[in-house]
Symmetry: none
Subunit: 323 residues, 2 copies
Amino acid sequence: MARRPESGKTKDINKTKLDDAARAGWLYYVAGNTQDEIASKLGVSRQTAQRLVSLAVSEKLVKVRLDHPIAQCMDYAARLQAAYGLDEVEVVPSDPGHPDTTLGIAEAVAARIEKILSASDPVTMGIGTGRTLKAAVEQLSFIDCPHHFIVSLAGNIAPDGSAAFYNVVFNLANKVSAPSFPMPLPVIAASAGERALLHEQAGIGRTLALAQKVQIAIVGVGDLGPSAPLYEDGFVTLDELKALQNVGAVGEILGWTFDAEGRVIEGMINERVASARLPDRDNALVIAAAKGGNKVEAIRAALRRRLVNGLITDEDTARALLG
Amino acid sequence: MARRPESGKTKDINKTKLDDAARAGWLYYVAGNTQDEIASKLGVSRQTAQRLVSLAVSEKLVKVRLDHPIAQCMDYAARLQAAYGLDEVEVVPSDPGHPDTTLGIAEAVAARIEKILSASDPVTMGIGTGRTLKAAVEQLSFIDCPHHFIVSLAGNIAPDGSAAFYNVVFNLANKVSAPSFPMPLPVIAASAGERALLHEQAGIGRTLALAQKVQIAIVGVGDLGPSAPLYEDGFVTLDELKALQNVGAVGEILGWTFDAEGRVIEGMINERVASARLPDRDNALVIAAAKGGNKVEAIRAALRRRLVNGLITDEDTARALLG
DNA sequence: TTGAATATTGAGTAATTGCCCACGCGTATA
DNA sequence: TATACGCGTGGGCAATTACTCAATATTCAA
């Protein structure tokens, strides 16, 4: 059986090259050299130096963080926290017109995760799936924290049987040396019966049990509009999506769909959602990470009913949630 | 009443400005906008946008991190360079638990030598002896550079009369087609008188004279602990080693022993060391190549007194030198 | 209110960077 | 062995960014 060739790039970047890239990136961003200076220090041409710097960026070796309380963001955060009785809110700046749906959120989530994992006392951290969290994990730096536990709260098998593209826990485990518990399940099982069967598996049971003990969880929020992630990724059919919309579902967290009041939809695909239940918000901090106009309704619903008690979003979304 | 002339500038940066700077910095570094785009988004001129970004940097609102082992090395290198006023420092990654005492260093030294020899202007390069340099030369590729001169700074005859195992210049000459000047002497002569006699030989005199003119030298550093290379290789007896230890000698370069302050020991075996003197650090670059816990004290001593003005070492050793 | 000192701004310009393209070296293939 | 292919490289140029300078705005004290 032929392995599918690595998506897209054929170039195998060997270690030496990445080393040089890191070196160039350091000289450029940390030491403030010009690319000409880097070139002479590394003994390469300026163009090559430029490529190395660029490689360091594209390989995500350089991480830029900006920790400054921007008054506007702080204001939104405080008002959101008050309005919805949240335990924790972070609002990052918006870049009007930028197409990236995770820009800023991913960095903030990464910083939050690093903060969680830097605790000296053991923590059990739950994590969902989705584009936002995947992007966040890419921003993470390597952390050694074997005393923590990381548990996936949602299945991560795509409908075609492959590990889903958004297998966040797997990517996380590559960055963080902590015991991690993936959930090798589809997000939505074929039937309620199949879900029961799957959940009885030994490995899954352990993960699910651990999922109920998480102290901090970070989850994405999916909308149920025409380009709902559940639909786009093939977890539900178009008919199922329309049916959900018809009963008033506006969003989902970990696959659990809910209406505009944040009430979890009875029956329908929720009978087949294989994910763990949302951790208890009285004992755990459940942070939703999401932004974007199409998600506003879903986020608002989740906040209203306190499906989550923490939020990381951007200015535009914050404004919409408050308006 | 004159206002105290603020050293630099009297910048009174109010909060709004820092906010804008943070926002500009965010849009620039995180969102990847150009300064033109930032200008239009923030409603200011391009120059102002540039100033805001620059302010965000100078106020350290943006924090750049590099996630790569190399980054740590670069950091150590910069700190060592500052701490000891060195002209050149390279720190290579450590491989914890690896027994090889030259791993990484040898490769780095080889690369440095190749860089020296790739210069188009003629260079006189000095070289010491020892395991580290021997391993480095083994890493060298063949180079044709007849316009350079290579001169041995230390004797390379073993106590038993054979060419010492670490006859670096000999091995170097096999790789590099440049005029080379070995020093067919023991590292330590039998007596001060014998040293004088040996140094009067025509061939030796020429090599010694050339040794004083080297522009770049690479030397090893030996410790004087129980397994001091000078003792293990039979250049000094156990009694002589103990005597050296008793007067506080902690290391040696080219056979010249020195104490923890880097002061060259008076008398004792230094009266019989047949090596060239260390090149003048005001006019030449003298790079020490060494790593390992047992050498830390020796290296630190050499750096303190500026016996060398360049260093190639590894992370662990760098950390120890800084700690 | 005025004047002086200081800060801020925009224009112009130099420096730096990003990117495209053609070349050359090495490797795989017929 | 000859040929094609791919990858990396450096040249050149356009875009972007950094800096200098003079003009303008602002602040503070008399």
